[in-house]
Amino acid sequence: MKINDKSYILAVLFMVFGILLSVQFRSVLNSKKNKPSVAYQIENLQNEIKTEKLIGSKLREEIDENIKKQDEYIKMFMEGRNDNELAREWESVKLAAGLTDVMGNGVIVHLADASEQLGRNIDNYVVHDVEIVEVLNELKKAGAQAISVNNERIISTSEIICAGPTVRINRTRYPVPYEIKAIGDPKKLYDALVNSPIASEFLMFDKKFEVRIAKDIVIPKYGGDINNLVDGLEVIE
């Protein structure tokens, strides 16, 4: 009886031990099986992304070049035709639509995530799409005449929307940090931003919110295809 009792306990112990061992073994096997392949995939993906980015910047250069050539053709045509009215209208409409590079005085704003997260909620310490929208609205309230975010010109259809860890602007993704340029009355723009509720929100969580007045800021034109942006519209005469 006594011997039976003891062996019973030992049997249970060894059973537990056996299960433990097998679970352990499986887990080790699994992590061994997964790790190299996942790391390998990640590396591959990172390389592919790098290549795509390179292709992207090359394409952007080509597009800029082609736009320049096109502008030259149009200019040549206008000069040859001597139609001042058409030329003037062409320039003013392009300016209104954001299709011209422009220069002027204004402010440059830098936004970035907090360098360290002090509280629990990580959401408080990163820059959100709506916050950029609010900053732009402050600039518009203060009479900004042209704005760009990371050199992407803000036009009438420009969205600023969160897409994973990045923000999508004019259907192109941009990661943090953000540089906002605005042309207008520099002092008005500066005061409006520094005294805005959005600025104090950034400072509260130690996020970067830097505003400086700058001269001769260059804001690039919208470089995309505008046909995509208006193909659902029909003009009412």
Binding site: V130, G232, I236
Partner: protein
Amino acid sequence: MKFARNLFITMICIILGIMLSWQYKSIESNKKVSASQTKNLYNLQKELLEEKKNNENLRARNEELEAQLSEYIDAAGNNKQIEESIREQLARARMLAGLVDVQGPGIEIVLDDGDSDYQIVYDIDLLKLINELRAAEAQAISINDERVVAMTEIRYTRPYMVINGRQIYPPYVIKAIADPEKLDYALNMLGGVVEIFRDSFGYKISVNKVDKITIPKVRDDGSVLKYNLLNPL
């Protein structure tokens, strides 16, 4: 002797218990690590897809530009053709800038304050809504017939909203024209915001698909579109 044996078994049990819990924790953390790796992998895959899409758009844009350029080259001397192309581009730019009345299929949203005093629609709410519409690729937007253009500001000053420098009172009627094929997508994207407005904020909101909607051009008294501080390069 019996006491010693019991002590021995107890100790083994304790050790086994500690091992078990420790082991369990290690398995859990293993799972977590692989989960975060999978998430990382997933994010990278998404990023790659987005980059490819970006490049696809750029390529299409470049091809279009090149086609247009060769059109100009072919038309050298044929001024009529070039003029036609310029006028076409001009018409598009006018629509984009908000310089003409436009119509098309779209969405009409009516947004109003809730019944209690603190359920007031603020400027940030309208900003969010407009931003969502833009994200859903809306092509023209107006709020109470004020065309929303690139530099349109939205400011709440109790008890009204100021848009394009003009006072606007609730209810706010927001109209947006979108590509008909993307309309359902747009409505879907709006769903989240609409739900929050209605259920969490207590606003009154209705969203309707409209076959033909009219959006007026921007007020051209010179108070909305200003470029006096811009030097074209």
